[in-house]
């Protein structure tokens, strides 16, 4: 028993952190946020409010692989730079 512990270490069920633990959650989207960079004043509100951490802070790029299309960024954007566009049937 004690030898086993030395060989294997403590045994417990343990999860590992990964992006996309629920798969490509971008597939859940019905509407896609599309950003118009000409209207963007870089206030960072979309980055702050995204519940899914799908925007980068520097480039403010949307990660469509995981963006769930909740629409919060579009509603909260003060300049109307983000529009929700219906996804094509996949």
């Amino acid at each position: 028993m004690s030898r086993e512990k030395e060989e294997v270490g403590y045994m417990t069920s343990m999860s590992r952190p990964v992006k996309g633990c629920a798969g490509d959650t971008g597939e859940w989207r019905v509407f896609r946020p599309v950003k118009n960079d000409d209207k963007c004043n870089r206030c960072l509100l979309c980055w702050v409010y995204c519940p899914e951490a799908c925007l980068t802070k520097e480039a403010l790029e949307i990660d469509y692989q995981y963006c769930k299309g909740c629409g919060i960024c579009a509603v909260e954007c003060p300049t109307g730079a983000i529009e929700m566009v219906k996804e094509e049937k996949r």
Binding site: S15, P17, G20, A22, T25, L44, Y49, P51, C70, V75
Partner: protein, 310 residues
């Protein structure tokens, strides 16, 4: 003054989780992790957060995390906090990490209150965050002690007949060093309160209103707007309590200073489906009046109001 530019870029809550679209708990975790950083041990009490973190063997949370039983937030933190201090004493850990409990309102107001109360009375060194979505959402939207008067849940089909309790006041009565309420619509206020909690030794209680799109029946895109209206209508008051004093913060402070006008509670009720039953019933007006009264009583209590009959 902290600005959005000061928030760390690193994400410890990883994209592609099992949370619903627009989940308030996932955004709150993201913001809390930005304030507390990587040196944090997270204890998740049975709730939606047990599920939205992903399922074995994958996780959306890049921190040491332990899932603990429903009633045991305070007790589990007591054990982990003691273990961490022992490891530092023995020289096996250089510094004490933050011990953070994350629990829902069911796990706090109802089933977890004795465990939390015990940990607070023992002056356990940890941060307790209650994300309050005012119902048991993980098991399908049942009422809790945090559900407001008039709100629909599956166990209050005609609207809840009782008022919610004020657990932050119960925590203040424990004489712990820090109690604060936060809102997702005021992220810098939230961030600064988390930073403060991190520096204080002893029990810190932070409670966040967590508007849940499927449970409260509003579109996910409105999650921040509903959070904001809760504060603007007084249904969620922002303050912190330290050294025996309560200080109002953010929009609540501006309302009480007379700089902006408080919105009627009705404006908040109308943007959610869970108050539709009560608003369209003959008792609708009465429920609205009772909630307005609840708001003004809560404000007066926080301001140190003493009833005249004493």
């Amino acid at each position: 003054m902290v600005s959005f530019k000061d928030l760390p870029e690193e994400e410890l809550f990883l994209a592609g989780s099992t949370a619903c679209q627009g989940c308030p708990s996932s955004l709150a975790l993201r913001m809390a992790f930005k304030a507390l950083g990587k040196d944090t041990i997270l204890l998740v009490v049975a709730s939606c957060t047990s599920v939205l973190q992903g399922s074995y063997p994958l996780s959306a949370i890049n921190l040491p995390l332990m899932n603990v039983a429903f009633a045991t937030g305070g007790a589990s933190a007591s054990g982990v906090s003691a273990a961490v201090k022992a490891l530092v004493k023995r020289g096996e850990l250089a510094e004490e990490p933050n011990v953070l409990v994350w629990a829902g309102d069911g796990g706090t107001y109802d089933i977890g209150i004795q465990s939390l109360s015990g940990a607070a009375e023992r002056e356990t060194d940890f941060i307790y965050v209650c994300y309050n979505n005012e119902m048991y959402s993980n098991t399908g939207t049942q009422r809790s002690g945090a559900t407001p008067l008039g709100a629909w849940t599956t166990t209050t089909p005609g609207g809840k007949a009782q008022h919610r309790k004020d657990i932050a006041q119960i925590m203040i009565a424990h004489r712990i060093p820090y109690v604060a309420t936060v809102s997702l619509a005021y992220p810098l206020d939230f961030y600064q309160k988390m930073l403060k909690a991190k520096e204080i030794r002893g029990t810190k209680y932070i409670e966040m209103l967590a508007p849940c799109p499927p449970g409260w029946k509003f579109p996910s895109a409105q999650m921040i707007a509903v959070s904001r209206m809760a504060v603007q209508s007084g249904m969620w008051l922002l303050y912190e309590h330290e050294d025996g004093e309560t200080r109002f913060t953010a929009a609540t402070k501006r309302i009480l200073e007379g700089k902006v006008k408080k919105r009627p509670v009705k404006d908040y009720l109308e943007i959610q489906g869970r108050f539709r039953q009560i608003l369209s019933s003959p008792e609708g007006q009465q429920a609205e009046d009772m909630l307005e009264k609840e708001v003004s009583e809560s404000i007066r209590r926080l301001q140190g109001w003493v009833p005249e009959y004493i």
